[in-house]
């Protein structure tokens, strides 16, 4: 499958792989920043040199040992993709928004299952990324490490013994590594304990992010936790530190859910079934509303309230309801209102299929 085909589907293979702790942890991501010694960093690259960096990476990923041990990695220059195809890659968290600017200087490398990707000439020459479902930071870290080792056989990295891997922004030097997990925390949000938990975390050298919409609730109760510091801690320490804190949060979230379900069973069930009903029958849905409803539906699935849906499908639908994907599917640039109508239609269709399969 080519990158072009990959980006036309909302489904990524990583979504249905084995996903430990997937009732709370949606995905684990490890990203390593690397730069080439003989080139200026990307923000100072002219087009010619940018092309040289891309060519060097193209050669490195095609290396026989890489293909044998990691698999076929396809490289595509960003401006060979349509603006919509690029946006879909953003929606799927395969590339960052930064990569969309000056797209003729940038490229992306992708393995077919979308577990491994490399952004070329974003803030750094290379951002090697591994995305896995559930809590799998160790696996993600090992894969990034392997790809990095193999690339390093061909490419000459900017590195100093004292400060480690040299990056465009000094906040990334050292390991150049960011490990992060996406957490679904509706329980802690509902019982009002989230603030306290997040406060504690931020004192432990980790960063917590939640994107809020216009209201005060985090859209979809989704939070991202990542390491703050990259210098003076080994890759293993960063990952084990993050993993152990995520495990504590996970335990707190489960306790909160159970307590809620025990004490306010009807309320929780009501929330879940309302979400189920609206998603199944609504005619107009904004992406923000849909995200909130999917959050409730996911909670319902994890608590065993609804059973005819999988977390993989919910994750896929969460990608599918994003604006870029909708435009791609409908084959035209839809205005906001038509998009909301189309979104509702798509969701209705997928949710309808569930019952027909009689699962």
């Amino acid at each position: 499958m080519s990158i072009k085909e990959t980006v036309s589907s909302a489904h990524s293979k990583w979504m249905d792989g084995f996903a430990p702790e997937s009732d709370v942890v949606i995905s684990s991501r490890v990203r390593a920043a690397r730069n080439l010694e003989q080139f200026p960093f990307p923000h100072l690259l002219d087009e010619e040199k940018a092309a040289q960096v891309i060519n060097a990476v193209r050669e490195a990923v095609a290396h026989k040992e890489m293909v044998d041990r990691v698999g076929v990695l396809e490289l595509v220059v960003l401006n060979e993709l349509s603006p919509l195809e690029r946006q879909i890659m953003v929606d799927k968290h395969l590339i960052s928004l930064d990569l969309l600017l000056e797209s003729q200087k940038k490229a992306v490398v992708l393995r077919e299952d979308e577990v491994i990707s490399v952004m070329v000439n974003e803030e750094d020459h290379l951002r090697i990324q591994c995305l896995q479902p559930g809590l799998q930071l160790d696996q993600a870290g090992q894969l990034v490490n392997l790809v990095d080792d193999l690339l390093g056989k061909t490419l000459d990295y900017a590195f100093m013994e004292k400060w480690g891997y040299l990056t465009t922004c000094p906040t990334n030097i050292g390991t150049g590594m960011r490990a992060s997990v996406m957490l679904h925390l509706p329980g802690l949000v509902l019982v009002g304990q989230l603030g306290g938990a997040l406060n504690t975390i931020s004192k432990l050298g980790l960063t917590v992010r939640g994107l809020y919409g216009e209201g005060t609730e985090a859209a979809g109760d989704l939070f991202q936790v990542s390491n703050q510091v990259t210098l003076g801690q080994s890759e293993e320490e960063i990952i084990s530190n993050l993993t152990s804190i995520v495990r504590q949060l996970l335990a707190q979230e489960r306790v909160a859910r159970q307590a809620l379900y025990r004490e306010k069973r009807e309320l929780v069930e009501d929330r879940v079934w309302r979400a189920y009903g609206i998603l199944k029958h609504a005619r107009v849905l904004s992406s923000e509303e849909a995200l909130k409803l999917f959050s409730s539906l996911r909670l319902g699935f994890d608590l065993g309230i609804v059973s005819d849906i999988s977390t993989g499908l919910i994750t896929e639908l969460m990608v599918m309801i994003q604006p870029a994907y909708l435009i791609k599917m409908s084959g035209e640039d839809l205005p906001a209102y038509r998009r909301d109508v189309y979104r509702a239609e798509l969701i209705r269709k997928r949710m309808g299929e569930l019952n027909n399969q009689g699962v």
Binding site: H43, T167, T171, R209, Y212, G213, E214, Q224, G232, S234
Partner: protein
């Protein structure tokens, strides 16, 4: 009001991102809000990091020294980036910049990273190069000297063993050892 991200279209949507319980508001146009919501996370760091850095750097890094301007401003020999350009955007220009600005970067790194010594992975080929080893031995010798001065003899003994091992490696020709 203009969109704070693209500075082109009128801002119609106000988003709040929360980082470590600290809320930041940003006014966006519909296009940018759409892009950012699609991304889901990470809205603020690319926007605010250079500001944060420039703020840090403005104090102690170079603001005063630039104004005094008693000598020519330091520039990186490889890429030509000047100190003031670095301060403006918070971005280095190439790997060599870290060597060019080393002295000034150290206190900055201490503040943003907490530590100033890399621990962890190294490129495999850096182990193969004699130049790297020589450089490493040089660094270790300085460490040894400091340890002796501080009368930390146990540590000094350890460092001396490391140096001997590396010197031996260098004699045997490291390149021959790998593969």
């Amino acid at each position: 009001m203009l969109c704070e991200r693209c500075q082109q279209r009128p801002a119609t949507i106000h988003l709040t991102e929360v980082i470590n319980n600290h809320k930041s508001k940003i006014a966006l146009c519909e296009v940018c809000a759409r892009e950012i919501q699609a991304q889901g996370f990470g809205l603020l760091p690319p926007l605010s990091l250079p500001y944060f850095l420039a703020g840090l750097l403005g104090h102690g890094f170079n603001a005063e020294s630039l104004e005094q301007s008693d000598g020519p401003e330091i520039k990186c020999e490889s890429c030509g980036l000047s100190e003031s350009q670095f301060v403006k955007r918070g971005l280095l220009g190439c790997g060599n910049c870290y060597r060019s600005f080393a002295e000034k970067l150290e206190p900055l790194l201490r503040r943003i990273q907490g530590k100033v010594e890399h621990v962890g992975k190294m490129p495999a080929d850096s182990l193969k190069s004699d130049a790297w080893l020589k450089n490493e031995i040089e660094v270790m010798r300085k460490k040894l000297k400091r340890a002796i001065e501080a009368e930390e003899y146990e540590e000094a003994a350890g460092i001396r063993d490391d140096i001997r091992r590396m010197e031996k490696q260098l004699e045997q020709g490291v390149s021959g050892n790998v593969n």
